[in-house]
């Protein structure tokens, strides 16, 4: 049965290569996007860490900053 699925009556090479190309494209896009996302989050954390207490409080008062800080605790 496995051989049948792999060979697909002679079309296996075409079918599997199409699905493999799609999988590789998706994985590449996901990894690149994830790297950019993590990088920006880390940059934010280091910039936020360098702020003095007064400026940090101002930054923390904004909704988006608060959300980034709470979600960055997991990375």
């Amino acid at each position: 049965m496995i051989t049948e699925i792999l060979q697909m009556n002679g079309y296996g090479l075409y079918v599997w290569s199409s699905f493999l190309f799609t999988f590789v494209s998706f994985t590449t896009l996901y990894v690149i996007t994830k790297i950019q996302y993590t990088k920006e989050k880390k940059k934010f954390m280091s910039k936020y860490g360098a702020l003095d207490s007064k400026k940090a409080e101002v930054a923390r008062s904004q909704t988006i900053n608060k959300e980034i800080l709470s979600s960055s605790q997991s990375i």
Binding site: F21, K34, Y37, Y48, T63, E67
Partner: protein, 235 residues
């Protein structure tokens, strides 16, 4: 008018949503792959090569859908001076381009056993290639133009010019003699595709849509954090 589209409100949702979308995507794609590769019927003429349809067609549909959304958002953003719409468009574009490339490459692979050639300057293939070029131009414009007002104007122009190509892609099979067959799936009239093939096609389309949603959410969050990083510099 567009208060619900405020970045602060959206970010509260998008920063958490991508984890759930990822989970849902993995679940749907697993069902889709089982249906597409194992359980779906073999085509009487094309044999097993028809299984390529389950990645080729959803990729083409979603790339067209994303470009149409980008155009709508850019135009609306330009008219109502809402920069968040541009941010949403910019975050949608990378997945749109990848889906376009997937549609072109898998179409080329499908073409070899079906038409006997990897590539033909067929109306639909050529118009899809042109769409990929518009995606590229759109993404490059965001990278090369420093001036914000200028980039908003140029990307809107690119999308307006690119959207002319979308109905050409859709109706190219009716307007010209092409290697592609006419549409098998019609929303308004009866579809000619068998239900045993339609089901995996719908599942795979849903999975691809979820993947584009996942990439969009991550990209949108990245863009917002980038803006916030600049904001911290100014403090």
């Amino acid at each position: 008018m567009f208060k619900i589209f405020e970045p602060g409100r959206i970010f509260v949702i998008t920063s958490k949503a991508h984890k759930y979308v990822m989970f849902l995507f993995v679940f749907v794609i697993c069902i889709g792959l089982l249906e597409a590769l194992i359980f779906s019927r073999v085509h009487y003429k094309q044999g097993d090569s028809v299984r390529i349809m389950y990645v080729h067609v959803p990729a083409a549909w979603i790339s067209l859908g994303i470009f149409s959304s980008i155009t709508f958002l850019s135009l609306t953003g330009y008219i109502f001076k809402n920069k968040n719409f541009f941010l949403i468009s910019k975050s949608l574009a990378p997945s749109g381009l990848v889906f376009n490339i997937v549609a072109l490459v898998t179409g080329s692979i499908w073409g070899k056993p079906t038409w006997g050639t990897w590539w033909a300057w067929d109306a639909r293939i050529t118009s899809m290639l042109i769409l990929a070029l518009f995606y590229l131009m759109y993404l490059i414009a965001w990278r090369i133009y420093e001036d914000k007002e200028q980039v908003l104007k140029i990307t809107t122009i690119i999308t307006i010019l690119g959207i002319i190509n979308v109905p050409i892609i859709k109706y190219s099979v009716d307007w010209w003699n092409t290697l592609h067959q006419p549409a098998s799936i019609n929303i308004l009239s009866k579809s000619s595709i068998h239900s045993s093939m339609l089901f995996p096609l719908i599942i795979m389309t849903a999975a691809f849509a979820l993947f584009s949603m996942l990439i969009f959410l991550m990209k949108y969050n990245t863009e917002l954090i980038k803006i916030k990083n600049k904001g911290l510099d100014r403090l």
